[in-house]
Symmetry: C2
């Protein structure tokens, strides 16, 4: 298991952690100044601007991406809407390639409006993911399916279990030496899963762990969307999960992603980054 | 699949649905007056009172129990606390027998204060469940393990997946013709699970479905604890889940359990019961 104090170049800041308070250029500079080597920007910070300039700014700051966030939701009530969602993701994948993202994080979407059919939503996501994997391979960007906590099944992700994400990977491309489709494992979403250890081992052996995200589950949680905690402030044994992931050979980035409307988003970026750095060492 | 309009005697009101507005005697009368045949009372309505009198009132009203709610949480930081939790459940099981409950619903508890060790909590629950199953068998009350939605893993239930509940049943008593330990399947907790169909079939074939609870998942959900919906008001395909359960031979009660601080708990009992009756027919 890596000592993260010796691996700050592998530690990544997902920019959502900083609450989107400042333009991406300032965020990049703050992350680099704090000593980290990786960053995960969001499309809202990039799209509509000069993607090449953002890419250059990131490189010039000495940073590289750990991933690019995130997909347009896939499930739709019509073929036209479904196609539009897939195409929006293709445009984002082109940007991901310009930015040098190793993977594109797919939060797949929940039930389309009015639907109660989770299985139909899942079938749409699998179909779209297969198409996006084929599209993104020549771009050098992998597809990271992120199973979300089941509390988001209705509105954000019909994909909830790590086991299911891995089943989809197998279904989409079979067992291959260098997978194009893999998973983003986020502690917040999977910490409760009794099969977590087994599925991390499965993902690792199949070379499918493309991203590893950390934060904490607060007790009590006031809002399941935007009340996530800094590592060490909650009940997730983040270090044990990181150990399991690294035992399987994962040496990619450790990315902190915290949605925290009532706490961290209200603080100065530099302060949050300082605490992230401490907690990478003491509680991750 | 049963037509519930012809099976109101199999339809049960979990008294939490009515918000504990009135003494249990009035609740029993209201449930019977509304035409239902089953009721699931809570310990808070029974303990400290005359249990025999409550049992007689239920019988005299023409009702029987679908279950008795619910266990004292098991996981503890000390052996003494663990023992106290087990003993509290034994007293509740004795009351369950007096009340004629077919099963005692176990909401098993989450992490003890200060702990991050879900697996240790799970081991405590398995140990306690085995002891409670042995204790309750001569009483004629079965143990219904209720996997809760993973959003409650920290504070209410380290048991989240139906598959895990069934694994525990097998571990505790093996495959037996008439199990003493089974599961309570609540749509709210399991609707999102991609393995739901497979696990319902497994539970049914093993004769382990001891209770079936219905309500709905609202979009948006304002509070994951107390903002549950009436069947038909949310995104759960309740009828499909009931069909799966009944396809496996389940002919027990269909119990409505709705925690709804902002809506149903503010209404008169008779009104809520009237809507329950309608929705049993139209949306369950």
């Amino acid at each position: 298991m890596r000592r993260l104090q010796d691996h700050l170049h592998d530690c990544s800041i997902n920019t959502a952690t900083l609450g989107f308070q400042a333009p991406i250029a300032e965020v990049i500079d703050a992350v680099a100044r704090a000593g980290f080597g990786r960053i995960a920007p969001w499309r809202r910070e990039v799209e509509g601007g000069d993607v090449n300039a953002v890419a250059k700014h990131i490189r010039d700051a000495g940073l590289s991406l750990s991933g690019y966030c995130r997909s347009t939701y896939i499930p739709a009530n019509s073929e036209a809407e479904f196609r539009a969602n897939v195409e929006a993701n293709k445009r984002a994948l082109e940007d991901a390639a310009v930015l040098g993202a190793p993977c594109f994080v797919m939060v797949v979407g929940g039930l389309p409006s009015g639907s109660k059919d989770l299985n139909a939503a899942r079938e749409q996501v699998k179909e779209a993911t297969a198409e996006l994997a084929a599209f993104s391979k020549p771009l050098g960007v992998k597809i990271a399916l992120e199973p979300l906590h089941p509390v988001y099944a209705a509105e954000r992700s019909c994909l909830t279990l790590l086991s299911e994400a891995l089943d989809w990977c197998d279904e989409i491309e079979g067992a291959v030496a260098e997978p194009q489709v893999g998973v983003a494992i986020d502690c917040y979403h999977v910490w409760w899963d009794p099969n977590l250890g087994v599925e991390i081992a499965r993902a690792g052996k199949a070379q499918r762990i493309l991203a590893f995200h950390v934060c904490d589950w607060l007790v009590p949680t006031e809002d399941v969307l935007n009340d996530r905690g800094m590592m060490g402030d909650g009940v997730i044994d983040v270090r044990a999960i990181r150990a399991a992931v690294e035992d399987e050979g994962y040496r990619g980035a450790v990315e902190v992603e915290i949605f925290s409307a009532r706490n961290w988003w209200k603080r100065q970026m530099d302060e949050t980054l300082k605490v992230c750095r401490e907690r990478f060492v003491t509680a991750t």
